[in-house]
């Protein structure tokens, strides 16, 4: 290209352009709407063969309602846990030096590389009564497998890399000058962290959180082994889809799929709005 690239003017402080660039984790801007809408359309065609009353009966049966509640609440809890530990992990990996750092950094990707079924049976064994962790928690009265707690554990596992990997490049690019300026103006370290560093990480953190959440909502393989799959108690929505499919109730399966896609779409829409707002106020 011979023309000058439309680079934004240099700004000394992380400004608006900074955030815009950051939020461009592929597909996360406007595009997400269509990304979620497309499969919505594919499945919607099948569920559209139902009358509205039939659709509601299939998509919002009591069993399905329990499944949605579990799927979305467990995903939210899992993503929140990852939001906290992902931030700490990214911070430690970028800012600190410690022995074994390279190994920790590499192993954070494990949930991406490990087949979900393998993760599922490993977690189920580990957290059940006789597993290494279960044998510690069960005597304390904490049941960690075959109930909703197990679902949260599995969803935390598979969402773990998202927040870390989204925050890392932003943290690395975050200029130390700003922190120095803040410190030289009299802020103590915690004020600097709370007022300067964390707000700058906000959009990337939210993006990582949303990706972990979205992944958790659709997750199947790692959950079904540890969940126990009791209807009305520990049955996740993707599992309910496969159960309906096994009974050749394609319309019911599609209806549940439509609801799941719709809610994740709404959820991501809200997060996009929050991001847009944080860009505006930054």
């Amino acid at each position: 290209m011979t023309t000058l690239a439309p680079e934004a003017p240099l700004r000394p402080i992380a400004g608006r352009r900074f955030f815009r660039r950051r939020s461009a984790v592929p597909g996360f801007g406007l595009t997400l709407g269509i990304t979620v809408l497309m499969p919505l359309a594919a499945v919607a065609i099948r569920s559209a063969q139902l009358t509205p009353a039939q659709f509601v009966a299939a998509a919002f049966s009591e069993r399905a309602q329990h499944a949605y509640w579990l799927t979305f609440s467990a995903s939210l809890i899992g993503a929140s846990i990852n939001g906290v530990f992902g931030l700490l992990t990214a911070w430690a990996l970028v800012r600190y030096q410690f022995p074994g750092k390279a190994v920790i950094s590499a192993i954070v990707d494990l949930p991406f590389a490990l087949p979900t079924a393998v993760a599922g049976i490993a977690l189920a064994t580990l957290y059940s009564k006789n597993g290494w962790i279960g044998s510690v928690t069960y005597p304390l009265g904490i049941e960690t497998a075959y109930n909703p707690t197990g679902v949260v554990i599995a969803l935390t596992f598979i969402g773990l890399p998202f927040v870390v990997r989204t925050l890392e490049p932003v943290l690395r690019d975050l200029s130390v000058d700003v922190e120095e300026a803040s410190a030289s103006l009299g802020a103590d370290r915690f004020q600097t962290l709370a007022r300067v560093v964390l707000p700058a990480l906000g959009p990337a953190w939210l993006t990582g959180f949303a990706m972990a959440f979205a992944r958790a909502v659709g997750e199947y393989g790692s959950v079904i082994f540890i969940a126990g799959n009791k209807p009305y108690v520990s049955e996740i929505a993707p599992l309910l889809i496969t159960i309906q499919l096994q009974q050749f109730d394609y319309a019911a399966a599609s209806s549940i799929a439509v609801v799941m896609l719709g809610v994740s779409f709404a959820m991501l829409f809200v997060i996009n709005a929050v991001q847009a707002l944080s860009r505006k106020t930054a």
Binding site: M1, P26, G27, L30, T31, L32, T35, M38, P39, A42, V43, R46, F85, L88, T89, W91, A92, R95, Y96, F98, S105, A106, I107, A113, L114, P115, T116, A117, V118, I121, A122, L126, W132, F157, L160, R165, T166, V176, E179, R189, T192, L193, A214, V217, G218, Y220, G221, F225, P238, L239, I241, T242, L245, Y250, A253, S254, A257, M260, L261, S264
Partner: protein, 287 residues
């Protein structure tokens, strides 16, 4: 006039955290990673070798186990090259050319990442299944897609669709078109330009994308589980075989096959880390 010296709180720099905070965060992070990631990995190998190496190997070399390994390898051998080829074409088009509907294409490429694997499988069942749009016609012509190899391959291609393209697009965009323009202006043909100029520039990124694509292709469970039909020895891939053995309480067998998949994951991570440190421009995109 003596100016009092500026009080210094400590010798550490303004951008450094207090030592206790550092230690606490590092301990927390290392502990979290050990409990959440290392323990599950260790569990797989301990459970697989619970009764020694013999039963573990027996479970893998069992005819059904070998059939599952074969099917997984065949699936990956089809899905990965298809997606690599597609990824190169798509990123070439997107990064080096301007055309209408480009952002829509990028969106489509991202699609499989935001869909539940189960829903991905469901889509193929709705289209190719016996109750689906094309199913009855295909069945009448003796073509079986669902509950057979083609369905498994299709579902795998769908879920691993974005890996290569998403790796190559930013890489190609960063490289720009200067070198290609130079080659073309010196008289090179399109194909020659690609082979001599573009391909050497993207080879490491391509390898990186193929690596991740392959790991997912061999390990995919949800989508494949919906379309496979779980016919033992025929349409069982390795992850599905793990599930069957586990549900039959054959834990040693399940974890032995799972151990193989774990080795795949570990090798993937090692190669990925090596690529990232040797080729800094590779793997910069977030997830």
């Amino acid at each position: 006039m003596d100016q009092p010296p500026v009080p210094r709180r400590s010798a550490r720099g303004a951008t450094d955290d207090p030592r206790w905070l550092k230690a606490a965060i590092i301990a927390l992070v290392v502990g979290f990673v050990l409990v959440m990631l290392v323990l599950p990995l260790a569990t797989v190998f301990t459970e697989a070798l619970r009764k020694g190496l013999g039963p573990a190997i027996a479970a893998i070399t069992d005819p059904d186990g070998l059939a599952a390994i074969r099917l997984t390898l065949i699936t990956a051998a089809i899905a990965v090259p298809v997606n690599a080829l597609f990824g190169i074409c798509a990123s070439w088009a997107i990064a080096k050319h301007q055309f209408w509907g480009k952002s829509f294409l990028i969106t489509l490429i991202d699609l499989p990442f935001s869909v539940s694997p189960v829903v991905a499988g469901l889509i193929y069942v709705l289209v190719f299944g016996l109750q689906g749009w094309l199913g009855p016609w295909l069945d009448a012509h003796g073509v079986h897609i669902i509950f057979a190899l083609p369905g498994i391959v299709l579902a795998t291609i769908f879920v691993t669709f974005p890996f290569v393209a998403r790796e190559l697009i930013p890489l190609m965009q960063a490289q720009g078109v200067d070198e290609e323009e130079a080659a073309v202006s010196l008289g090179a043909s399109g194909v020659r330009t690609f082979l001599r100029v573009t391909a050497p520039n993207i080879r490491w990124g391509l390898l990186y994308g193929v690596l991740l694509c392959n790991a997912r292709a061999m390990g995919e469970f949800g989508a494949v589980s919906v379309v496979s039909g779980h016919i033992r020895g025929e349409t069982d891939t390795m992850p599905l075989h793990v599930e069957i053995l586990y549900n039959e309480y054959n834990f040693v067998g399940a974890f032995a096959v799972a151990g193989l998949l774990c080795l795949l994951a570990v090798v993937t991570i090692i190669v990925k880390t090596a690529l990232e440190s040797l080729q800094p421009e590779v793997g910069r995109r977030a997830v």
